[in-house]
Symmetry: C2
Subunit: 160 residues, 2 copies
């Protein structure tokens, strides 16, 4: 159809162009990832958490990394736990905090999700593997910066 920007993409500044690409990719990824995850009750937050959980993390950490409110993580964790994908363990170093870690099922499920995400990524972005790596490089900078600005918190002692 004639609904692309081939005629007027140049009317946008590079920054706006970048934004529109980001919006488009984000929308497609979320949409198709969730559609693909049907059969289980995984929503957006659950998928995102699963992706981030490459290794055990505290819930507060997860909230900051996913740029979500803590209450969202609580809800998502409850869902994931109910499906046996994660386990909650008290943080030995701070009895207030929970560590979320993947069960064996969770690890399998995560692998599937990562594979699915890669496929969807290439399908919807149309990028080559090299371009994807390029984007990944930019992404690291972006994500780090975003997490920092999002993390308004003055140093809390959750580190040591």
């Amino acid at each position: 159809m004639h609904a692309d920007f081939s005629d007027s993409w140049d009317l946008f500044t590079p920054e706006v162009q970048a934004m529109m690409g980001v919006f488009a990719l984000h929308w497609q990824l979320e949409q198709r990832l969730i559609d693909a995850s049907l059969g289980e009750q995984l929503g957006r937050s659950e998928c995102q958490l699963l992706l981030i959980l490459a290794r055990p993390r505290r819930m507060g950490e997860l909230a900051r990394l996913a740029l979500k409110a803590p209450s969202v993580v609580t809800a998502a964790a409850a869902t994931l736990e109910a499906q046996g994908l994660i386990r909650r363990v008290r943080d030995a170093r701070d009895g207030r905090a929970w560590l979320l870690e993947l069960t064996e099922d969770g690890q399998n499920r995560r692998q599937q999700l990562v594979a699915r995400a890669s496929a969807v990524f290439y399908e919807t972005s149309g990028l080559s593997e090299e371009e994807a790596k390029l984007l990944a490089g930019l992404a690291q900078k972006i994500h780090n910066k975003a997490v920092q600005s999002g993390a308004v918190g003055p140093c809390e002692g959750d580190e040591t």
Copy 2:
């Protein structure tokens, strides 16, 4: 801040890394753009529409380009019109369709928004101008592809 991935970013595949950067940037941009637009009643959709409206477009076109349902565009257009930022004109070539075009106020508002978006973009992404251009290049491919897959329409051949 201890909540970054400096310790484990490499645990993710490049595709997942890219996704996480995209998610982060998208979230920040939407959030901060809307916060900045307070004082007027501009929501996410309204901002997005304003950005796309570099030149008059039909509502259906806008829906496809923004990857939203037509009803969302209807609602957003009503808001923008109520604020005097856009004007609705019947498409001379098809009396069923409306063309949305910016009023003079709308053009000013759009310029502000673009400027604001650029600022927010650099602040939250931490990218250089060159990197932004790089990202913009990838973005065009992405957006085109996304719009195409989204446009399931029985529309005649834009090849493919």
